[in-house]
Amino acid sequence: MNASLLILEYAVVGLALAILLLDLWVPASCKAKLGHLAAFTLTGILLASFAMHPETAHYAFKQSYVLDGLSLFFKRFFILAAILVLLISVEFADRMPTGISEYYALILFALTGMMLAASASDFAMVFVSLELITVTFYILTSFQRNRTRSLESGVKYLILGALSSAFMVYGIALIFGAAGTMKFTAILASSAALATKPLFLLGLLLTFSGLAFKVAAFPFQIWAPDVYQGAPVPSTAFLAVGSKAAGFVLLLRVLMGTVPNITAQWAPLLMLVAGVTILYGNLCAIPQRNLKRLLGYSSIGNAGYLLLGLAASNQAGAGAILYYLSGYLFSVLAAFAVISVVSRQTDDEDISIVSGLHKRSPLLAAALALGFISLAGIPPLAGFFGKFLLLKSIIPNVGQPGVALLLGTALFGIAVSFYYYLGVVRAIYWGKNNSDLPPIAVPVPVRLVLYVCIAGMLYLGCFPNSPLGTATRAVLALKP
């Protein structure tokens, strides 16, 4: 029993409760500013986390919670994402009907869930942390109670999320039935024997389905575009970055850390899922006109690329996933921050709202363009290096059946994605209408978010040596 390992989670939960309490005394006009307080405190927590150096894995709660390099990497990732999302939501606050402090608190609770997911070392922990994330997101997505779209997206997320939770809990029950334990360490020790038990494999498959729902991988991707489009911008941003990364950290923990031998056998399945996800996301993104919906489909496509790293089933692939997710964080949050500011005047998210944006605000235009160019994967931005690492991790497997086809699919997907990502760049720089609209004033916090995102994209793209070392060290935790 070593409960002090959870110090970061305690801090975040404490902050969330403090925000809820402060809400009682703070005058209504200042409530939106609580987000700044939360972001500021989180920055402190983020900095404090750098004092922790877990050389080896430390366990708490009878080995159901682990603190190692991988979990710490993802904790920092989630905290950073939450800071940026909080800053965006302060800008968004006046578009929320009521209860903005609760919104901040919910973001922090979701963050706690993500941080616990990063440390999950037990299937019960997996389920609890995922439910904490998902249930808070039911509320976050439907937070704009006065908008039907927001409510609709919340209900859709609720129904499909409940379904995936059912899959998952059923899978966990089967795993427990077959293995007699839910601990990752115990399952890893007996994974050779378990690999022959059909009941265990079925349970694992159902768990995988539940996680595939989180990362929006085919065939559990159907919710993503609708929910992305309907939810308030900060919720979508957090969903896109945080929830997806939580899904991937659990996929890494379960598939690569716990049952590596079964994962190796399942490579064809993973490749199939990856290939179809890439095709579905990218092809469906072509006709989209709504920016958030476009990003929804793009997030499906990106889940496909990330699954490439999982299908490679090697350390390089796992490291590439971490790197790609970090680049994805900055790229996507830059895009959502801009969308949040630009959609203020028009109350619309059609691509046409950004046309001529370069005249209205060069900073917003540059940030959005860089975000989409990074997502498309063009040097010297983060997205390019992430894609390069993912491809590099799977190309050595090209002798295996199907890998060549998968690479062809990935190439096709990337080429298609150029079309719709650059379509947005086109709208920004030489779109026809809107250029006579007044300039947009960018509030300082959002400006800060954009600077951080641009710096992050450039840093990860131009100086990958040290972040790549961090990612490589983090995935050492997965080595059995």
Binding site: H358, I373, I378, P379, P380, F384, F388, L391, K392, I395, P396, V398, A404, L407, L411, I414, A415, F418, Y419, L422, G423, V425, R426, Y429, W430, P464, N465, L468, G469, T472
Partner: protein
Amino acid sequence: MSILLTSIIGLPFAGALAVAMIPRNNRLIIRSVALLVTMVSMLLATYLFSEFQSGVLGYQFVHEIAWIPSLGINYAVGVDGISVGIILMGAIVAFAATCLSHEITEREKEYYFLLLMMIGGILGAFASLDLFFFFAFHEFALIPTFIMIGVWGRGENKNYAAFNITIYLTIGALLALFGLIALSVQAGANSFDIRVITAAIKAKPLTGAVQAWIFPLLLFGFGILVSLWPFHSWAPLGYSAAPTATAMLHAGVLKKFGLYGLIRIAIPLMPIGSQAWMQVIAVLCLGNILFCGFVAMRQRDLNLLIGNSSVAHMGFIFLGIASLTTLGVTGAVVIIIAHGLLAALSFGISGHIYHQTKTLDMDQMGGFLKPMPFVGAAMVMAMMAGCGLPGFANFVGESMTLFAAWKVFPVVTSLAVWGGLVIGAVYMLRAIRSVLHGPVSPMGERMIDAVSFWRKLPFALLLIGLLVFGVWPRLITDKVNPCVEEIIAMATFGQPTAKVVPPPVKGKQRPPSRKRPAARP
């Protein structure tokens, strides 16, 4: 260690950053900065060319900075005999393109920023010794191309052209990237450095099975980038929609990236693959020479004509490469350089005309030589160089490739000669007739020549380049030849006698470009 190359590449990037800092109202300062950095970059490239030691194998002026040691990816630039000429050509074209950018009058700050970024990417691609940077610099130049065509491009379907060129080139580049990563992985050196990979493959050649799938990836990936028939359709369309400078840089320099990659990487490292595919290239290059030649003949739009003829010229380069002989590949490198200057000159001239007429329909032109003696004369010379008139560098390269290819692919070569000389002459001469000669058309009366020094300078520079390399090709061939000999030695190592004939030391008909000292009087 020498930072000379890094400064040639870095100056445009530094200039781009400087342009980004200058307030947008200072148009003159922005343009002067762009001109200054490209001019210094060009002078440095000339110095590099003159200091380069011919006949020495290996890379010179190498500069390395550790980047990601764990993956074996490092910033490393250097030149050998092949790339030194291309970098000089690229720097000249870059300066000429910047000079001719005076036609741009709106959003100049963004324009010069993107132009300088593109130039830096182009020069970096040819100087890189690391496959990762080699690829990344090329990809990096693609986004400026896209935005420049979209924002400052011409015509109704510039959007279509911008997307077409970008997506087409991305597919080619990604294929090549897969091939490059696979090559690095299969070489087993855990490095992306060309020198390390070459050494590793020399010690332990790739198996035939591996070459059989990597080589086509590189061939078609690079082939798409060079508009190898039938993957050429992006080129004329994109160039006719692009602003002058972009077309000059892309058609002149950036497009040669694929050829450079083939010569530098694909052929020497995968001899079995290249020998198996050379027949295919020889047939496809006829598609470039004949098919695109015929297409060029039908064009009534000057830019489409130049664009198609530029695609047709790529056929000769492919033919030279396909011969897998020292003479042929040396000729290919000479054409790469000559065509770079020529394409830039042609697009520069058509840009000068378009700027005033707002159309390039040759039916409405005529008699332009009278109002524009200088540009007109330059155009006559460009067109003549394009049909391979002796005295221009194109003739040197084309004759070398044809002589080399004759021994290997006689049928293809005879068709190519016919295509190059007859078809080329037909459309080039017809273009001269309809644009320059005849009675002065109403449009022609308003035409203004390039009057000031700065307007004449780019045309003059490019012409001087063509003529100097045309009458004194040893300037290039002496540098290129030893490197090509080494590449060919590697490429034919597997089956030296099967299809490949060594270059003739003495022949009856000799191009005036004999590079062997013994053959000179």
